[in-house]
Structure formats: structure tokens, C-alpha cells
Point group: D2
Chain length 344, copies 4
């Protein structure tokens, strides 16, 4: 009998991705999938081809929480998790929402526009960017899975910052995301006809993922760091590319950049460091938990361009959540996550 | 009898766009379309639905130059124009290639990797970014149409720079282009299956459009300016979005940014200044000569984000070429360019 | 002062296409655009770049009908038109909805699942498939614009049937439509992420466009004709391709098929008959009122394959509506419809 | 030590898909991958992220055949296999090309326009449509993997024909394929800009897959059967949908259609029979070896519409090839093929 798993928010894209990944996991067992608006509907109606769980029915979130389990993956809209998980619960939780990512309840209120409902609980939660917090995650009972954009931006920037290869000021991040980042319940502008053949920036100045990026960069640098961040919507389903421009530290050369990545990610299965001849492509990562990172020194202007591509629903959400859960329960870190991308 | 027009490079995407636009022009008449590899083939075989010119045959470039005409649009690969147009020719020329964009033959050699074949001729050529050089263009016989990326980046940056709202150092431009920018003769990586569902940077550090951007920014600023520039390929056919991050000058506020655009573009038909509630979208510009520009002050980090979206084959190539030719021949500037985008 | 035009359903894709086309029409003038859910909103908010009408406000349908005008284009959901236009109204009307397409109120009830609200009015309405009903349309005050699928299927089949080149029995039509056919207010399954990279049939056996196709084929044949029809959704924004398989009449050869088209469409501006070496492509028609038709004899199986491609929002909706209105008011039939497709 | 595998044509899309699938197979081991034009290049250069085989080099076809192995997957262009495999070779071979699919060398010559190079060998080859030839495949040394279109069409039609639910005459198949079916080395018309936002038929009357379909239908019916077949290119990377129209046998009802599928495919893992409320979608099958089939009785016209969707590179090529090889070597039939589709 495996680790019993509950998935909250199972009708969303991240929740659905978890259901897909769990199908290939040898040690976890889905005991309930919750999506309040779908309560009572067969999982197979929303996910034909799901196989192992097609005949299960969606639970309400409340009912799902009453089912005995060892682990909860929660992918509910922000605000819900803080309410649900504030209380004592012996189960381990990986929360894919934004509720427990910021350590500072005041910052949460500032960026999310509402009071945090469980501020005293924040300290219990560990940041789920696996490659940087693996030790804590292994022993954690509460993991706050990072956002898709922070995952990409931080995988690109942290090793360079930690090695002193880039400066703290004037970091700018442009990120391009596939449309699945907007979720299934699409509003005006996300229907096929509007999103196809279209590139557009959105949420310029003030995207909610900014404080997450700054919190982690500040932790690494040991001092406050502020970044510019502009997300863009591009006409593809999955994938994020973060292109980060940062001032080069004096004397940095191209080799030092790649060396910093190789040092940081040398033992990492899921982060591929591309060398000088290669640049990241989102397509090669689609459906996977892998990331591609590389950087280029632009000596003419004294800046470094650092790149990271991921699948926003993979390493940017469900994949990393499972990677973290694997650590929390002592599974092999790659369990259920070995599949490579389907290309072309 | 209208202005007689020759189109060189008529089998490429920019050349084809010119043929389409000429169909709607009341004062110009196509007298020859040249594409050396297609010599003798009916235009209608490559462009079914072209109507007015379907039964013409492609000329070789050499033969087309011998045909009497008033105007030459040239959209040949770089290097060719410098060879062809170095000599005296009474006709007016709009060159869509890169050969006469840089004023400095040494810079050409540095960025294009080959000697310029007509360095003495460079001074005769006027920069074809219409909104900034309209006066010179009216009387020019030689216009060097700017590249697609420079057009987008400069429309976003020049008014802010001219007004002193942004600083000269630390300007970074990320640009996203549709695949038609790569041309019809597609190499590995541009077939549908490889380019679809994929976002990727390319030509990082060293793209040939950089000196063009720097030359014009430097001219406006009165001193040398260097920029970082990263182009990205996104899965759509047409469109470019330039997202430019620049240091805000002290005391700048959001209103000043939009005011600078409104001052610069107040009388411009083809540049739409978007206000605070709107952000550019490439789809709204597809097939047109229009541009959308706007900017946002990111006060937290002391930087300005300036945006410009265009159609890379429209304002970024054939559209602007026709706009310039209209000025050169005294036509209404919008002649043949009034059509709005087909959306969705 | 031009013909005053009211557009009902102006927030939908067909209504929006009409607004775009009217911008290029020299003899019509928009006096009101109605969309009940958008009442009071600026047209420019929904249609940035619309230019001439950006500062108008959406009317409610009721208010728009009270505005004085010469012509009404109505693109409301089915059922509404029958209610609104059943009464006497001196204005000319082109209805893009399905309400007045079927001559038989009983057939309407059978296929649309509700009683027709103005059965006595049906005889006043003329079928708006221009190429087949031009004479009646010129003098009509009420034109029922055909559906997008019937337009494509009938343009392919009618000339062959009229010439006796195909039999009446065993006609099967497979049609592929872009996603804009589903409209702007997209339900589950039409968001970008679900529709992209996906082909699927829908409404198999019983699509509402079947009786329209059968009514017109029956009229041409002089006897009842039944057809099989399967629509498919394909991942593009605009375009319909109808592939029609029909039994070849004895002795038919390939030349006879193309001759029949050339005879039927010899003087037609908007229907391109492709010859043996060409097959239709939707992309070449996008944003236009043009159609491409051709056919192939499959002598091995004794059947004819007839093709027609159109833009579902062009010749399949707004384009043909304007073509009809041009006839009704004595304008040149191509007025406002000359633009060729933007390709690639 | 597992079954040693050679992949010929490893730089093509089907070959690449085999390399991907082999990564997840516990009993097979890649010993050589051949692509003559890529000889000496690292596999990882063409397939970044391939992992297990990134550091191998491409062999020439000739060299690869000299490497000791138990199994050859061949995905070379037609004509090559007949030359290579005509001679005695103790190894088992699954040929994904067309060379050994037709039992009749004269038919091969007629449809492929060249003489068959190993006509005496044809009888050794077993048809690799697994669900219909499983017994023979288990003991075969030579399996001719069927084409992508035949796989889809036959999975839809065979059960209905075998049960006598459809007639032999007047079967028409329209099929829609993603662009990857055209292969990596794309000709004019398959670059992104030309294929995007475009639907077009091709190879109308005379596609090479017709005789394959007819051969198998004829075998099932016990008499010659001819079909109409029209392939279409749609703008997506992977997937085929076959929509088949056939005359309904007298007295057939809807239940009988689904019952026939359930009987035929009751024990099949890879064929999902959809019930009355569901229709196939290519996206749900992308990257997998699964197929979705269903049918609808159109009683009004006395015809049956039968559908099958597959991934053209999965069940339509590499997936089925591996499924067959699993049978030939006594592996579990699903080995390496369990992954479900990545959706959305």
C-alpha cells in the first residue's frame, strides 16, 4: 500500500498534471481528487484516457480533506490554502498556490491585496524550489511550491548571484509564458481566436510573482534585491522562458558563467546546463520536470544574459510538486518524473 | 500612368508583401518583379490570388534592372544591394536590405563580417524610419529602410530618450518575433513541427540589428549609446514585440512617459500611443503598417519599460518601405496602407 | 451622405468583421452598433485600431433599432431575428443568423428545436448565397445570409449538380473549420490550451446547417436531396474547407468538372476556380470574401471530390453579407471587399 | 543484457520517436542509430535531452547494419528497405517504410512508380497492424508496419466491415494530419509561416496509402474493396483523424456499431472505444500509442460515420513498431508504451 494522496484543485491544469504524473508513480496512490465545481462528476469525463482513475468521482474540497491520506497536493486559487491549512494537520502538504510562499505576511497583503489568513503558520512552510532547498524539504511537513515564473527566473539567476558574477542592482527579467498559465477557466482574451497569432505583455509593473523572486534573491545575496519583471503571453500551450539581464561583475568572463551553473547544478538531474553552442527551447521540456539554463556575457555592455526554460505546468508547478513530495517521503527524487519531452 | 515600380527579391516574404500592398495603391504600377531563382515562373504560381499581377513572370534581378522604372524596392539578401546600387542610377530606391543602414562602413564590416562594397555611397542614403526622418525622406533618392527590430525598438525608445526621460546607460531590449522574420527559405528549425509550440532566444549577443539601434539612439542622444538586445522566436507567423527596459531619469512619472509619446507621435497616423489601461498586442497590427507604443514607470526599481508592437513584414519591412516611397513621390503618406488588421 | 447602417450583434466575431469592412466602404456609414451586453462601452475598447468608429458607444439592440437607418446587418444568436424582424420595417435587412434561411417553418422547428416566431414572414426572405441568387438579391428587402458551412459546400456542389455531373444520392461532406466559428464567448474546449494542437469532429449527425444545404441542393436538382455532413474543429482562427464526395455521373471526365465551374463562375469575382494543378488553401482566403473551388474525378471509385475553401467570417458571414448589401443598394458588388489575403 | 536494437533513419521524426520510446523500455538496448546524412554527429546535438544516448554518434546505414543486433527498426524512405532487407538476415526487422506493406509487387509498382526490388521476399512480411495480426506478429521475423493513414482508417473500419454493419461499396475516407507527417526535411509549403493558419487537401486521388487500406479491407471482406481517400494537412504538429463514411447495412442501429468495436477491441489496451457521448480528439493521444474509435449511424442518409484518431508518429509509426517488436520478443505488449498523453 503506497502513500495515500489527495489532490485539491484537480480540475485545473496543474491538478490535472498531477493526476497524470501520479499514474506513473510506483509509490503513491490517489485516494481523492477534489474540485468543488465538478463534485460528483467522473474524473474520466474531464480526463479521458486517464486510465487508473477514470472511474473515480470528484470530491468537494471539504469532503476530500476528510478522507484519510498521507499527503495533500493543493492547487487551489490563492487565499484558499491559507484558510484550509492554517490548522494543525498531521499530513504532509505541498501547496502549489501562492499562500505560503512569502515569509512576510505584510508583503503578502501588499502584493495580493488581502490579509493573510494564517500569518502565524508561515514559518512552518519551506520554499519548494527543490534544487536550492533540498535539505529542508526532506524533513518538511509543509512545502510551498514556487510559482512558475520564480522557478524559471531563480534557476537562471541564483547560481550567478551566489558566485558573485552579477550585481544586485538593475536586474531585469522578461518572461514568456504559454497560455496554459492562465488556467482552464479562461477569461476574455484567452479563447483560441484571441490568443492565437498574438504576443502581448501583461501585468506590467506589479505581477504577484515579483516578491517571491526578490525574497529568494535577497536571501542568497544577504541583502535586499529588487528586480524588474515583465511577463508576456505567447501563443503556445506550455512553456516558460525567462530571459534575465543583469550587470556583470568586474572581470567576469563567459566561462565563469557556465562554471557557476555547472557547480550549482552538477549533481542535478532536472537542470540541464547548456554550453556555449546551445540555447534553451521550451519545446524540449514540454511535459517534463526538466529545466534548461545557460548564460551569455555581453561584454560590450557589461551585462550578463541568463536564460532558463521550463514547462510551466511541469517544473513550474506539478512536476516540482511531485519532486518535492518524493523527497518528503523518501522516494527516489525522479520517481514518476523520468519521461522525456515528446518532440517534435 | 503611374509611378513605375520594380520589386527585387519578389519571392521573399517582404517582397511578396510589397506586391500585395501595390495592388491597393492607386498611383504606382508594377513593371517588373525579380527573383533570380524563380525567373520565368508566373507570379500567380507563387502568389495565387494576387490578381493584378498573376500573369506576369518573374524576371532575373539583372533583367529587372534593365526595365525602365521610376522606383526600385529592393529586398535582396545583404551584400547584393551594395553591389547593385553603388553606381549612378537616376531612379529612386528604397532598399529593405541592411546594406545602407549603417553610416559607418567599418561598423558594417564588423557586424556583417564582410567589406562594404560601396562605402562612398553610404552618405547618399537616408534612414527610412519615417516618423523620425520624414523631411529628409521627402527629398531623398536613396532610402535605407530600417530593420524590423530597430523599427520596433526605436519607436519605443526615441521619444523617451529625446525628452530626457530615460538614461543612456543600461538599456536592455528583449524582442519577440514571429517566424516569418526568418524568411521563406527556411533552414532547420523553422519547419512547422520544430517551430510550433516553441519559444527560443537566438543570436544572443551580436545580432546584426544592434548597430542600427545604437546608431539612431546615439544620434538622438548626441553621444554614443550601447544597448543589450536579445531576439526571441515565438510560434506565430507575423509580429514583433519589443520590450525595452531603461533607467528612469530622476523625477519621471508615468504621465511624462505617455506625454512624450503623444508629443512625438501626435500627428502620426501609423503610431498608436496606448494609454495607461492598454498594452500592445501584435495581432491587432498584423498585415498593417501600424505600430502600438506605450510605457510604464516601474518606480520600485527606478526603470521604465517601453513597448512597441509592429508587424515585422508591415511597419517592419514592406509597409514602411511603401510609406517612404509615398513621401518620395508626393503621394498621400497612407496611400495603399489604410487597411486595418484582420482580427481575430 | 451614405447609406446609414446599423449592426446588431456587433461584439461578436461576424459583427466585428462587418465593422472592419465598413471602414473601407465608400458608400455606407455606420450609425449604430449594438451589443446588449456591451451597452455603453466604447467600440474602441473592444476593437482597438478600429479608427473611424472607436469613439462610438455600443447601443442596446432595442435602442439601435430606434435609430434611423437604411440597412440593418443582424448577427444575433438564432431566435432573436425572427422576433425582431417579423414586423413591418421599411429598412432593408441582411440577417446573418439562421432564422430566415429555411423556407419551411417545420424544418426550422425540427432542426433548431424551437418554434419559428415569424413563420408567415419566411417567404419574404431571399437566400443570400450571392452567386446563385443575385437577381433576387438586387431587389430584395430581406436577405438571409447563408451559414458558413452551407456557403462552402454549395459553392463546391451546385455547379456539378446543375450540370448533371454528380448523382443525387450518397453525397458526403466533411468540413474543417477554424475556431472563430465558435464565436467569442467561448465555452469549455475552446480556450487556447484545449483547442490548440487538436483536431476533433463535433455535432456529428444533426448539425443545424444540414437542412440549409439540402434545401438549396434540392432546389437545384428539382427533387429532395439528403447529404451526410460532419464538421471538424481544427486549430486555426479562420477558414473553412469543405471536402465533398459525390457519385460521378456516367461518362464524366475531369475536364467536365472544371468546365462546369468555369461556366458557373466565369463572371464571378469572388470565386476562383482552381485548375488541375492547384488545390484550395484556407490561408489564401483569410480576411477576404473570396472562395477557391475545384474538383477531382476519382475514376477508380466512380466518385467526384469537390472542394471549396472560404474564410468563415468572410464569404461565410460578414463578407457575403456586405456583398449582398452592395447589390441591394446598387453599389459595385466588390465595394469594400477588394482586399486580398494577408499571407503568409 | 537486453535485446540489441538498431534504428535506421534515426534522424527522421519516426526514428527520433523510436529513440525516445526506447529510453523507457526496460528490455531493449540501442546499439546503433543510423542516419547517413548525420554520420558522425552526436545524437545529443539533434536530440538534446535524449539522455541515455546523447553521446552516441550517428552511424551510416551501411555501418549500422554491420553492428551485431537482435532487432532492426527501419524508417528509411521507400525503396531503401527493399534493397537492404531482401537478403537473408537472421535478425528480426520491423520496417516502418512502405516497402513491404503491399503483398502484390505489381501494385507496388503501380502506386509507387518503381519496380519492387525484392518481390520474392514479400511473402515473408507480416502486416504490422497489431490488433488484427497479433498471432502472426508474435512469430514473425519480418513485420511491415502499416502507414499512419491506413492504421487510423482500418482501426475505424475493420470491425464494422467484419461484422457486416457497413457495405463494401462507396466507402469514403477524409483524413486530417498534423504537419510532422511530412517529415523533418521540409519542402516548400511546410515551413511554419506557410503551414500555420492553413488547412489544405493534398495528393487527392492517388495517395500511396490507398492500396494498403484496400488490401486489408479486401482481406477482411473476402472480396475486392475500393475506397475514396483524401488526406488533408492541418496546422498542428502531431495527430491524425480519419473520418470514414460508409453505407450502413440494412437494419443497423447505433448500438450495433459500438458493440462491434467493443467486441473487436474488448481486450485491447491501446484502442479506446468511445461511447455515444464522446468523440475522438487527437490531442488526447499525442505522444502515445493509443487510438480512439467510435462511430455514428446517420439514419437519415443510411450511412455510418466511423472515426479513429491516433498520433501519426505513435500508433501511426514508432509506437506501433515498438508494440510489434514487444510481441516478437515476448515482452509485455505495453512495455515502453504506457505513458499517457500530455494535455493540455
Amino acid at each position: 500500500m503506497g502513500v495515500g494522496v489527495v489532490v485539491l484543485g484537480a480540475s485545473g491544469f496543474a491538478g490535472g498534471e498531477l493526476l497524470r504524473l501520479l499514474a506513473g508513480h510506483t509509490g503513491m496512490e490517489l485516494v481523492a481528487a477534489a474540485a468543488s465545481k465538478q463534485t460528483g462528476r467522473r474524473l474520466g469525463d474531464l480526463y479521458p484516457g486517464l486510465g487508473y482513475a477514470e472511474d473515480l468521482e470528484f470530491y468537494s474540497v471539504e469532503d476530500a480533506l476528510r478522507v484519510g491520506s498521507d499527503l495533500i497536493f493543493s492547487s487551489l486559487p490563492f487565499g484558499h490554502s491559507a484558510e484550509l491549512f492554517g490548522q494543525a494537520d498531521a499530513r504532509k502538504i505541498v501547496d502549489i498556490s501562492a499562500d505560503f510562499r512569502l515569509k512576510d505576511a505584510a508583503a503578502y497583503e501588499q502584493w495580493y491585496g488581502q490579509k493573510h489568513l494564517a500569518p502565524d503558520d508561515l514559518s512552518r512552510w519551506v520554499c519548494g524550489l527543490t534544487e536550492f532547498h533540498r535539505g529542508e524539504i526532506r524533513t518538511a511537513t509543509r512545502v510551498a511550491n514556487p510559482g512558475c515564473y520564480p522557478t524559471a527566473a531563480l534557476l537562471a539567476l541564483v547560481p550567478l548571484l551566489k558566485s558573485g558574477l552579477i550585481g544586485n542592482e538593475g536586474i531585469h527579467i522578461d518572461a514568456m509564458s504559454g497560455v496554459s498559465g492562465a488556467g482552464r477557466a479562461s477569461a476574455e482574451g484567452f479563447d483560441y481566436s484571441s490568443a492565437n497569432e498574438n504576443v502581448r505583455p501583461y501585468a506590467v509593473v506589479g505581477h504577484k510573482h515579483i516578491p517571491e523572486i526578490e525574497q529568494e534573491l535577497g536571501r542568497v545575496a544577504g541583502s535586499e534585491i529588487k528586480v524588474g519583471f515583465v511577463p508576456h503571453l505567447v501563443p503556445m500551450t506550455r512553456g516558460i522562458l525567462a530571459t534575465c539581464s543583469a550587470p556583470a561583475a568586474p572581470g567576469v568572463d563567459q566561462d565563469a558563467l557556465l562554471d557557476a551553473y555547472r557547480t550549482s547544478y552538477g549533481g542535478e538531474v532536472f537542470v540541464r546546463v547548456l554550453d556555449d553552442g546551445q540555447l534553451p527551447e521550451t519545446k524540449r521540456l514540454s511535459g517534463t520536470n526538466f529545466a534548461e539554463v545557460t548564460a551569455r556575457l555581453d561584454a560590450r555592455v557589461g551585462r550578463v544574459i541568463a536564460f532558463c526554460a521550463i514547462d510551466n505546468l511541469g517544473k513550474g508547478a506539478a512536476g516540482q510538486a511531485l519532486q518535492n513530495a518524493n523527497l518528503m517521503f523518501g522516494f527516489k527524487e525522479t520517481e514518476g518524473l523520468e519521461a522525456m519531452a515528446v518532440t517534435p
